[in-house]
């Protein structure tokens, strides 16, 4: 269904390639850059995850990803030693 234009204005990128959005209704968007150069912002909202994860685990993942991106993860673990100690 075609949507009506509620507001139109001209904007220019600032020195850091940012645009200010005026009168928006959402905090999150999916950004689609079309071949012709147009950009479509589709508003999104936060919803519960399909797989619940505790805040504690989420924080762990966040810190681990930070370390991974910096290449600062631990050394290789010794699985051979461990597998000999597994029971059952």
């Amino acid at each position: 269904m075609p949507q009506l234009i509620a507001k139109e204005y001209q904007a220019r990128l600032d020195t850091k390639n940012r645009l200010t959005l005026r009168g928006v209704t959402a905090k999150f968007y999916v950004v689609q850059i079309l071949e012709g150069g147009s950009i479509v912002l589709s508003p999104q909202k936060l919803v519960p995850m399909s797989t619940p994860i505790s805040e504690e685990i989420l924080a762990q993942i966040g810190r681990s990803v930070g370390n991974l991106k910096k290449g600062k993860v631990g050394g290789p673990i010794d699985l051979n030693a461990a597998r000999k100690l597994v029971r059952g």
Binding site: K16, N17, R18, L19, T20, L21, R22, G23, V24, T25, A26, K27, F28, Y29, V30, S42, P43, Q44, K45, L46, V47, P48, M49, S50, T51, P52, I53, S54, E55, E56, I57, L58, Q60, I61, G62, R63, S64, V65, N67, L68, K69, G71, V73, G74, G75, P76, I77, D78, L79, A81, A82, R83, L85, V86, R87, G88
Partner: protein, 142 residues
């Protein structure tokens, strides 16, 4: 071809080395032994084949979107309600896997309120008052 396994956090590495040391001394209690056995088996499978059927590995799109790297989830146990899970990512180098987090207790995945991070299409014409603020593309650094 196997993957080299690494821990993403010092405390997780400490948990692993602590369990391994206690296992070598035969001093793991029943809960620790059960966790050590399951975690080790899962890590061995993951190292050999991340898509091993027993791991039920799948990507968590919401976490991938949130953190900007592909985040995978694998199970430590099968046929168990509330099974413990671990989260991992490929890297930092080729043929390496980094463990991002592990649920060391069966209930730890359910503790506290669930984090709401997934994004879905916004219902037409509906937005919360909180979201009716001016948004910017990119963050301003001062």
């Amino acid at each position: 071809m196997t993957f080299e396994m690494r821990m993403g956090l010092p405390e997780m590495e400490a948990l692993w080395t602590g369990l391994l040391a206690k296992a070598q001394l035969g001093k793991l209690n029943a809960d620790e032994q059960a966790f050590f056995d399951k975690w080790t088996k899962a890590l061995v499978h993951l190292s050999a084949n991340p898509k091993h059927p027993g791991l039920r590995t799948h990507e968590i799109d919401e976490l991938t979107q949130k953190f900007g790297v592909k985040v995978w989830q694998s199970y430590l146990e099968n046929h168990t309600s509330g099974a413990r899970r671990m989260y991992w990512a490929y890297g930092p180098e080729a043929r390496q896997i980094t463990i991002l987090a592990v649920e060391s207790h069966p209930e730890s995945g359910k503790r506290k309120a669930y984090e709401r991070i997934a994004l879905s299409a916004f219902p037409q014409g509906k937005a919360s008052d909180k979201e009716k603020s001016t948004a910017r593309v990119g963050k301003r650094k001062r």
